[in-house]
């Protein structure tokens, strides 16, 4: 007979209570992992940001455009290797509740700066050749059952009218941090109509993206770019792509903070669940632990029994919770309107956090019962009626 066997049998002594505790922990761990996944999804843009890309936008707000003429001047700034630009097209495709990004981009330079959009060479050439062609992410292919050659009719809002695009290329995200649900098409195609129908809006872009050299200091380059347009009618604000994405998140920072706090409150709840079970178990077994102490068992051996039981319950709950998290995340994603979180996956860190939470709870929940048992004199323990 080994102590481990006694530990395991103790853990299963009150089967219903143990099962309920494990279920309680698993639900809490699942909620924890789900919240962390949502927070991760919110930060996906930040995580996907490249360290060598800068974004230049209108100094007042992102919604104000910049002149296309800025491109040549930005390209002259020391440290800038390549410049591209994009316009937020918006519009509605089939269902206005199903969101995905639609961008008019400079097709000659954009994909050079965004190698994370992996496109077949032939498809890319086909896209470049056709003025109303578009590139779509693999997620849109699945979501709308699209294929090469299909027509996508988009109803414009920021750029009014009916817009027809032909799918000529499909990109695959390089990794999980890249949005697989973008629609990208030629800036020039949009400009053709804008010049005719909205001439006052022609020659404008939404923002510039600069790739800087490895040796360049992002702050210096940003300052130099913004210095070019100081006191002009469209002053700029240049920042790293990461900072740009973080600015987007700042509007939702209260929600994200609340979710972060909630995720850790959940760990506290798990602690209470397991702690309560362990305190009940230890109180019921005060007499037995007193017998073990009388027989000569030392505190490390009693710690092994009490903390071990606590670890088993919390780790079993954590493992079950993390296991259930995978279908739960998929279910959560399906329940959301399409496009809310284009990048929605369980980060390895979330799994590690879940396991760490289980270990922490296992240890912490055993401290109070352990103290009680060790502080109870043997003769008092032997008199105890559980």
């Amino acid at each position: 007979m080994e102590l481990l066997r006694l530990l395991l049998r103790n853990a299963l002594r009150h089967k219903l209570r143990s099962v309920l505790t494990v279920l309680g922990v698993s639900i809490a761990v699942m909620a924890f992992a789900l919240l962390r996944t949502v927070v991760t999804a919110w930060h996906a843009g930040v995580d996907a940001s490249a360290a060598n890309r800068l974004i230049t936008r209108h100094a007042i707000s992102f919604v104000f455009p910049l002149p296309l003429a800025y491109k040549n001047r930005i390209e002259q700034v020391p440290g800038v290797e390549r410049v591209t630009y994009a316009v937020w097209f918006s519009g509605v495709y089939i269902d206005k509740n199903q969101f995905f990004a639609r961008l008019a981009v400079d097709s000659e330079t954009f994909f050079d700066l965004y190698p994370e959009f992996v496109i077949d060479k032939e498809q890319f050439e086909a896209f470049r050749r056709e003025r109303n062609a578009c590139v779509i992410g693999i997620d849109l292919v699945r979501r709308y059952n699209l294929k090469i050659g299909d027509i996508m009719n988009v109803e414009g809002d920021a750029f009014p009218g009916q817009w027809e695009f032909v799918v000529r290329a499909i990109y695959r995200p390089r990794d999980q941090t890249v949005d697989p649900a973008n629609m990208l098409f030629h800036y020039n195609y949009v400009q053709e109509r804008v010049r005719q129908e909205m001439p006052q809006r022609s020659g404008l872009v939404g923002w510039y993206i600069e790739r800087i050299s490895k040796s360049a200091n992002p702050a210096d380059v940003s300052e130099a770019v913004d210095g070019l347009f100081e006191n002009s009618h469209a002053e700029t604000k240049t920042e790293t792509e990461r900072a740009f994405q973080q600015n987007f998140l700042s509007s939702a920072s209260a929600v994200i903070t609340a979710m972060n706090v909630m995720s850790f409150v959940i760990i506290g709840i798990i602690l209470l669940v397991v702690g309560n079970t362990m305190i009940m178990s230890a109180r019921e077994r005060t007499h037995e632990y007193a017998v073990l102490k009388a027989l000569g068992f030392s505190w490390p051996q009693l710690f092994f029994l009490i903390a071990g039981e606590s670890f088993i319950l919390s780790l079993a709950g954590s493992a079950l919770g993390l296991l259930v998290t995978f279908p739960a995340v998929q279910g959560f994603r399906s329940a959301l309107p399409k496009g809310w979180f284009p990048i929605f996956y369980i980060k390895p860190e979330t799994i590690v956090f879940g396991c760490a939470a289980g270990l922490f709870v296992g240890l912490a929940a055993s401290i109070i019962p352990m103290r009680r048992i060790l502080n109870t004199r043997i003769v008092e323990g032997l008199r105890h009626v559980g």
Binding site: L3, R9, H287, V291, L292, L295, G296, S298, V379, L382
Partner: protein, 244 residues
């Protein structure tokens, strides 16, 4: 005192006829114990002194609250006296700290409680193995020792039974097997027949008598039962914390 070497069978010693030596084995000097309850000091034992010879079987009798169990707990190293000394085989156990006392108990004392105090999720043989886990014996040796101890108490065919599957008398016999498994010098028994019917009580007392006579265990027993006390070689009466 004869101790069992590894692998030596209890059964080989059980036929030896034990005797009481005159050398003091347990020496109690001016022992006092009092408890504090809030601001009150409650004396339980008052200046007790006596000796117990090696291989003796002593019964402590007296009314409830006379301090019998407290005295037994002090001698067994389960509690610390307020004053006085307890010398057992030359070791003053009042000088030992908690850790040393735990080691001393595991080697020197076997416990027999009124309500058996078996671990309900362990089988009879696993319960008997518990104190053996504190010895350097290997797993197989522990199991062999535990099975031998169970055979000595007449439960060789109940090794895989859980306490709930045994009668009260059988449970107490498992507890006795647990108490002798490590071959301790002293057995302390607190009302060992208090929860048993007459027949089971008789069996348990007979077993204790054999352990004393044949294995030369020094036994200290607290009891209310005069028939149990009759099995002892000597009886000491306590009243209001004093030996009379």
């Amino acid at each position: 005192m004869k101790r069992f070497a590894m692998g030596q069978k209890y059964t080989s010693a059980i036929h030896e006829v034990g005797s009481v030596t005159e050398r003091p084995f347990i020496e109690i000097r001016n022992l006092s114990k009092s408890y504090r309850r809030d601001s009150f000091e409650i004396p339980v034992l008052r200046n007790i002194s006596f000796v117990v010879a090696e291989g003796d079987f002593v019964a402590f009798m007296g009314p409830s609250g006379s301090g019998k169990t407290t005295l037994l707990n002090l001698i067994a190293g389960l509690d610390k006296p307020t004053e006085g000394r307890i010398l057992i085989a030359g070791t003053d156990i009042t000088e030992l700290n908690e850790t040393e006392l735990a080691v001393w108990r595991s080697r020197s004392v076997g416990f027999i409680f009124q309500f058996y105090n078996l671990i309900p999720v362990l089988t009879a043989v696993e319960n008997v193995e518990l104190p053996l886990m504190l010895t350097p014996l290997a797993k197989k040796e522990r199991r062999a020792h535990a099975e031998t101890a169970l055979r000595i108490v007449g439960l060789g065919d109940r090794t895989q039974h859980y306490p709930r599957q045994l009668s009260g008398g059988q449970e107490q016999r498992v507890a006795i097997a647990r108490a002798i498994a490590t071959d301790p010098a002293i057995l302390v028994a607190d009302e060992p027949t208090g929860d048993l019917d007459k027949a089971s009580a008789e069996e348990v007392l007979e077993l204790m008598d054999r352990l004393n006579r044949e294995l030369r265990k020094t036994i200290l027993m607290v009891t209310h039962d005069p028939r149990a006390a009759e099995k002892a070689r000597s009886v000491r009466n306590l009243e209001k914390g004093e030996l009379i």
